[in-house]
């Protein structure tokens, strides 16, 4: 067996055993480095007789040509392999630890989106109100039995000031400023003397909508409400209107929707009472309008399946973390 054949066998055996990039590099150095066995053999060719020199030279050069690139390739492959193995893809990554919005904000944004697309402009109003805006202008004179429906917080040492019991004062404030067509929405907090329990809170959020123009009828109200419910809870949601009483609308209705097999009351609405229009100097003979109001907590409770209204103000992270968007 020639020297070249021996070397080839040795190299092949060593490659067989090698696995790490270093192993391959060591083999390369051992045989093809400056002092490598193959390099040395090539150098010692000159000591061979001339007739043998050519054949041996060809064999050794073939070795170099074949194995040197192969070892480099194997080394690179081994490197990639070693590199790949180094990532424990089950170890948690460096996460973006993002906070999220309160569920009431989520619902508020959805409501704003739906009504903005219908041309409603969102307006604001104070939470501390006068008796006129909260009651009288809305057709609830002093001692009116309808005041029983709202248990009111009053401001100490400031007679005539109270915490608004509903968002409807914004109707009056808006119509005092803007003449028809009026198409506004408002979302804000309201206050009632109700101790906390699973379905009551002394402060909660309401959404109010108002549209006053020539020729507005209950038909427009129904269309708007149905559109809203479909957008929020899905098209085809079963909805029913039932008569009820609000001092500031006539006719008035309560809207129920069927959700998971149960009828849920979700909002109150009606045609703006002619006296309310008169109170803000709008001629009810010329203009009609509709208004509606709903509890934002109630919407969120239905939408997300929340059973206790206290969760909205408790601010427990175990609650808040569930509303990722």
């Amino acid at each position: 067996m020639t020297e070249a054949e021996n070397l080839r066998r040795e190299i092949e055996e060593e490659i067989e055993k090698a696995s790490s990039p270093e192993d391959f590099e060591n083999i390369r150095i051992k045989y093809f480095g400056k002092k490598g066995l193959v390099t040395k053999a090539l150098k010692s060719l000159k000591d061979l007789p001339i007739e043998k020199r050519k054949e041996a030279g060809a064999l050794l050069n073939a070795l170099k040509k074949e194995f040197e690139p192969l070892l480099k390739k194997k080394r690179e492959e081994a490197k990639v392999k070693a590199h790949k193995k180094s990532w424990d893809y089950t170890l948690p990554g460096r996460r973006i630890l993002k906070g999220n919005l309160h569920p009431l904000t989520l619902v508020e944004l959805k409501i704003r989106e739906i009504f903005s697309s219908l041309g409603f402009k969102f307006v604001d109003g104070p939470y501390i109100e006068t008796d006129w805006y909260n009651f009288e202008a809305l057709n609830v004179p002093p001692h009116h039995p309808a005041r029983e429906m709202h248990d009111t917080f009053y401001v100490k040492n400031m007679p005539g000031l109270l915490l608004r019991t509903h968002t409807s004062p914004v109707q009056i404030r808006t119509m005092e400023k803007i003449k028809p067509p009026v198409r506004v929405g408002h979302i804000g907090r309201v206050f009632r003397v109700d101790a906390f329990d699973a379905s009551h809170a002394p402060a909660f959020t309401q959404f109010e909508g108002l549209y006053v123009d020539k020729g507005v009828s209950f038909r427009d109200l129904k269309g708007t409400i149905m559109h809203f419910i479909y957008e929020l809870f899905g098209k085809g949601t079963e909805v029913k209107f039932l008569p009820t009483f609000f001092p500031f609308t006539e006719p008035s209705a309560e809207v129920y929707m069927k959700w998971k097999g149960e009828w849920m009351e979700i909002l109150g609405c009606g045609m703006v009472h002619p006296r309310v229009l008169k109170n803000v100097g709008i001629d009810p003979e010329k203009y009609t309008g509709f208004a509606f109001g709903m509890g934002v907590e109630r919407i969120a409770m239905i939408k997300y399946g929340i059973k206790d209204i206290r969760l909205f103000s408790e601010n427990n992270l175990k609650f808040l973390r569930q509303f990722k968007i």
Binding site: G99, H102, I128, V155, L163, P251, N316
Partner: protein, 781 residues
């Protein structure tokens, strides 16, 4: 309003089953809060004949009663009086549901009782029974449920405050009549009057408070217990039976919805309806003495008040067992006048509820006659003529109704005959004025009907809302996209920082207010609790409540924010308060612990970083200065200034407050007034296209030197190529640096003219170092 199905059927033919009637009530706007089948659980109730009564072997209070039933016999143990052989009783056999629970066989002191001989109390028909119930005129075939009138349904209806006419059976019957197109059966109220009976004089001094007062006398009556049917109806309706006379007044109140009052005729000499005199007193039927304020409307005789008008009668003039003649009041009192007294004395009675919501001024004579007739039926006696004192002009109201207008409101094109049909169903008479206009006579019981809008509501109520189609009108010039407000972008800025949005209740305690605000607070006159006595003057207490809850519940990293209003009193101004919007941020506990990141306690810089980011986000400059006067809630705080005006505060919460919230870790907060802040207009500015060059330099400064000062001096060097200065390291070690601190600054340079040469940058750095040297800051070797 509690309503019995069978009682209701006395006035109207109901086409629906008791179960289906619920739907009809709801359809008409009467919410059914509860409906109950009265015979439920009573199938085991049997009529039984007492065959034997034996002494109990071990307890003399009990008897062992042998009972014969239609099919079999039963042995019961009972402690009731009056158990005698030959009497009939009702017995609840095993499985029967009574007020006290479900009946089963039980051992009574060694003797097995196989059922319960029941009392009316057991059956939920009275408060307290003396003995078991002994039915009369029965045999073993008698059904106890039928005998007791329990084959019935009881509904509890929520009547909206605008419909006092529905607080009586006849009103509800009228509604059902309109719905079913049926006529209401008016109960008989004809009486035979004896013209010889004297009626005390009636004088109305305040005809605003009392526009109508009728009275009559019924003499020669026998006051006694009412028959079972009467007691049952009242008791199930929530009214305690008292005596036949009083029961009849309550019965008519439920039947016609009109309150009546009976006085003992011997205790009053005349009737004067007048305002109370200051300090006058009355001992009322509820056993309490009321000192009356001037002008409270009362019924008085020549001496003193005998009733607070429309609300409650006096004890002294009330009907007793010994009463032989009564004066029966059937009047109409003004709702506002009654409401005022109700609020003043806190007296809510069946009578006052109806008067304050508005009774029917046409009904008093009929109600009086109906009651007189029933009293005569139950208590005998003779009935006088009715004396009716009234102001002029009480009668039907008339309103004009246009078909077109009603159509316009409901959005359904109505034909005249449809409107006429509605009015006929409602039993409103009308005259046609011209082709589209009607004059409608509104019955006095329907005080809620004021105009066309009310007629539109009646149409929808009776016919339902299904006939209304749906329509949406979107204006041509509507804005189209979502107009998001400033606070939305603020939230979007905070979320990626790991802050969670909270919403807290706007009430805080006075102490919490004092901890974090010097403003004048808005206090609540009638707070739910001292914890909720003040409208928040700062968002910090709400964040602390939420933050402490989460830390105590085992969260390590609690980062929260709230955007909301605070309430500041401004006495003396036109609007004596303002409601500015604020943002507040809270960090408490430790940064999140991860394998790739060591955790640490949150500190001041975590909340300050929010402000620094905001400053960039809003393109606004905030200056910080140590708070001159520190608020007790803070251990340390700095004021945030914008153009010299205080707009917020950053600080660490004081140990006192932390203790109150039961938190041990340090807490940091930021609060910022959002008034006047707005999103900046983004304007593009050109930037250098040549690469930036960074140089880090470490500066040694005396301990206590502020980074802000160092940066200011760096900028003082006035090198326009300096793009950015960042503090990248702060190093303190007395062994190495003595009393000095090392700040490493990263300086970034760029030029619009070309790539900066290394030598140029060196020169810039040297110039900066020169300036720093002037202030005594050396470069660290």
């Amino acid at each position: 309003m509690k309503v019995l199905y069978n009682w209701l059927r006395e006035y109207i033919d109901i086409k629906d089953s008791p179960e289906d009637l619920v739907e009809v009530f709801t359809h008409l706007g009467m919410e059914v809060e509860e409906s109950r089948n009265l015979k439920e659980g009573l199938s085991g109730l049997k009529t039984a004949l007492i065959e034997s009564v034996e002494e109990h072997p071990s307890d003399p209070h009990y008897k062992i009663v042998g009972l014969k039933l239609k099919d079999g016999s039963l042995k019961c143990v009972s402690g009731s009086e009056g158990l005698e052989r030959g009497k009939f009783v009702f017995v609840a056999t095993s499985g029967t549901k009574l007020a006290s629970g479900i009946v089963g066989k039980k051992d009574v002191k060694g003797v097995v009782s196989e059922g319960n001989i029941v009392s009316l109390e057991d059956l939920g028909l009275e408060d307290k029974s003396e003995t078991v119930f002994f039915p009369e005129n029965v045999d073993l075939d008698t059904s106890p449920v039928e005998y007791l009138g329990l084959d019935d349904y009881l509904y509890d209806l929520y009547i909206t405050p605008n419909r006092p006419d529905l607080l009586g059976y006849l009103g509800i019957a009228a509604e059902l009549g309109a719905f079913y197109r049926e006529k209401v059966h008016i109960p008989p109220y004809g009486v035979e009057e004896d013209p010889n009976i004297n009626v005390p004089s009636i004088k109305i001094e305040d005809s605003t408070g009392c526009p109508r007062y009728t009275g009559r006398v019924i003499s020669g009556i026998r006051v006694a217990k009412s028959p079972l049917w009467m007691r049952r109806k009242l008791y199930l309706s929530g009214i305690r039976p008292i005596s036949n006379v009083v029961d009849v007044t309550n019965y008519v109140l439920l039947e016609l919805g009109h309150p009546l009052h009976a006085f003992d005729l011997d205790k009053i000499d005349q009737i004067i309806v007048r305002g109370a005199r200051d300090g006058e007193k009355i001992l009322a039927l509820d056993g309490k003495e009321y000192t009356l304020a001037k002008d409270t409307l009362v019924i008085a005789d020549s001496n003193s008040p005998v009733a607070i008008a429309g609300i409650i009668g006096g004890e002294e003039s009330s009907v007793q067992n010994t009463t032989t003649s009564i004066f029966l009041e059937s009047a109409y009192f003004d709702p506002r006048v009654v409401a005022k007294s109700v609020f003043k004395y806190g007296l809510r009675t069946e009578s006052s509820i109806r008067f304050m919501k508005g009774a029917d001024y046409c009904i008093p004579p009929m109600a009086s006659s109906r009651a007189a007739r029933l009293i005569q039926e139950l208590a005998g006696g003779k009935i006088s003529k009715l004396v009716d004192v009234r102001v002029e002009g009480l009668g039907e109201r008339k309103i004009t109704v246009r078909t077109e207008r009603v159509s316009g409101l409901i959005g359904i094109k109505l034909e005249n005959r449809e409107l006429e049909d509605l009015l006929e169903r409602l039993n409103f008479s009308y005259e046609k004025l011209d082709s589209t206009e009607y004059r409608v006579h509104v019955p006095s019981r329907r005080r809620d009907i004021e105009g066309e809008a009310d007629i539109a509501e009646e149409y929808l109520r009776i016919n339902g809302f299904d006939g209304v189609s749906e329509h949406i009108h979107i204006p041509d010039n509507h804005p189209g996209d979502l107009p998001l407000d400033f606070s939305y972008y603020l939230r979007e800025y905070l979320l990626p920082g790991g802050f969670f949005e909270i919403k807290s209740v706007e009430f805080i305690s006075k102490r919490e207010h004092e901890w974090f605000s010097e403003a004048s607070p808005i206090e609540i006159a009638n707070p739910l609790s001292p914890d909720m006595a003040v409208m928040r003057t700062s968002l910090i207490p709400g964040l602390l409540r939420a933050g402490s809850l989460n830390i105590r519940y085992g969260n390590e990293d609690v980062k929260l924010f709230e955007i909301g209003r605070v309430f500041i009193g401004e006495k003396g101004k036109d609007t004596p308060f303002k409601e500015p919007m604020r943002l507040a941020v809270f960090a408490g506990g430790f940064t999140s612990r991860q394998w790739y990141k060591k955790n640490r306690k949150f500190d001041f810089y975590d909340v300050k970083g929010v402000l620094d980011g905001l400053s960039e986000f809003l393109n606004m400059k905030f200056t910080l200065v140590e708070s001159e006067k520190s608020l007790p809630g803070f251990l340390f705080s700095v004021d945030i200034l914008n153009n010299g005006r205080k707009v917020g505060i950053i600080g660490e919460i004081s140990p006192l407050v932390r203790k109150h919230f039961e938190v041990k870790v340090p807490l940091f907060v930021l609060e910022l007034d959002l008034e006047g802040l707005k999103l900046p207009l983004i304007k593009f500015s050109d930037f250098s296209r040549f690469p930036s060059v960074r140089r880090d330099v470490s500066i040694l400064v005396p301990k206590g030197t502020r980074a802000g000062d160092i940066i200011k001096y760096v900028l003082d060097a006035g090198i326009k190529e300096l793009e950015k200065v960042e503090v990248v390291d702060v190093f303190e070690d007395s062994k190495v640096l003595g009393d000095k601190v090392s700040f490493t600054l990263s300086l970034q340079f760029t030029s619009f003219e070309g790539t900066l040469e290394s030598s140029t940058v060196d020169e810039y750095v040297n110039r900066i170092l020169q300036v720093l040297k002037q202030h005594g800051y050396e470069q660290r070797a």
